[in-house]
C-alpha cells in the first residue's frame, strides 16, 4: 500500500504546477471547509463559475431556498479566497469568483490520502 502511494505521487502531474502547501496553508483550507455556508459556496461555484457577489446571493436563494446576506457571503468569500479555493477575476468593473479546486487536491495529497 505505502509503496503504491509513493509511486502515485511521483506520477502526479499536479504537483508540477502547484507548489506544495505548508501547514499554515493546509490549516486555511480545512478552516475554509469547516463551515456549511462556505461548502455551499464551493458547490455553487463548481456548478457555475465566474459569479459576482450579486449572482451568488440571487442564485443561492433561488436554488437552496435559503437567503444569505451579502455581507455574510462577502466574508465567506474572503476566507475562501485566502485559502486559495476561490479565484477572482475582473469583467469590466465587476468582480467575478470561480472555484479553484487545486488546494483541495493538495489537501488530499498532503494529508487526507494517508487516511483513506
Amino acid at each position: 500500500m505505502r509503496r503504491a502511494r509513493a509511486g502515485f505521487l511521483t506520477c502526479n502531474n499536479f504537483i508540477a504546477y502547484w507548489a506544495p502547501m505548508n501547514d499554515d496553508e493546509l490549516d486555511r483550507v480545512f478552516k475554509a471547509l469547516g463551515d456549511p455556508t462556505r461548502r455551499r459556496i464551493i458547490d455553487r461555484l463548481r456548478e457555475r463559475p465566474r459569479q459576482s457577489l450579486f449572482e451568488l446571493c440571487a442564485l443561492s436563494v433561488a436554488q437552496d431556498g435559503k437567503a444569505l446576506s451579502r455581507q455574510a457571503i462577502t466574508q465567506h468569500l474572503d476566507l475562501l479566497e485566502k485559502a486559495g479555493l476561490v479565484q477572482v477575476e475582473w469583467s469590466g468593473r465587476t468582480k467575478l469568483h470561480s472555484l479553484n479546486p487545486a488546494p483541495l487536491r493538495e489537501a488530499v495529497r498532503l494529508w487526507l490520502r494517508a487516511h483513506l
Partner: protein, 130 residues
C-alpha cells in the same frame, strides 16, 4: 400614499436620455430645466401613466463611490420587468448593449443584468408562469 417616481443616478443626463429612450425604449415624460441639470423622467410606453423613472444627476460626492461599489459586486441599481426576457436580450444585444449576466433562471423569475452606460447595472426580470 403612492410611489409616483423612482430614480437612477446617472453620470450624464443627455447620455442617459439616449440610452433609456432610444435603446431601452422608454418615453420622456417630464423634461424641466433646473439650473445646470434637468428634472428628466421617463415612463414605459406600456404604462405612460405609471411610475416615472427619474434620470437623476449623480453629482454628489457620495454617489460615484456608491455606484462603483455596487458595480464591483454586480448589484443592480434597479430592476425592470419584461414579458419575454430572451427576446429582449437579443434585441438589446443587437443594439450593442453589454450584459453582465446573461438570461438565467433564478427561482420564480428569469433574469439578466445589463450595463446602462451611465454607471449602473440594471436587472431585467421576467416572471415565470406558475
Amino acid at each position: 400614499m403612492r410611489i409616483y417616481v423612482t430614480s437612477v443616478l446617472v453620470d450624464d443626463q443627455s447620455k442617459a436620455e439616449d440610452f433609456y429612450t432610444r435603446v431601452l425604449g422608454f418615453k420622456v415624460k417630464h423634461d424641466v430645466p433646473l439650473g445646470e441639470h434637468r428634472w428628466l423622467t421617463v415612463v414605459s410606453p406600456e404604462n405612460p401613466e405609471g411610475t416615472e423613472l427619474l434620470l437623476e444627476p449623480g453629482e454628489h460626492p457620495a454617489v460615484p463611490p456608491y455606484k462603483a461599489a455596487l458595480v464591483v459586486d454586480g448589484i443592480p441599481a434597479t430592476s425592470f420587468q419584461v414579458d419575454n426576457l430572451d427576446a429582449e436580450y437579443d434585441r438589446l444585444r443587437s443594439l450593442g448593449v453589454s450584459f453582465t449576466v446573461k438570461p438565467l433562471d433564478a427561482g420564480t423569475v428569469r433574469m439578466a443584468v445589463l450595463d446602462d452606460t451611465c454607471g449602473n447595472l440594471i436587472q431585467l426580470v421576467q416572471m415565470k408562469v406558475a
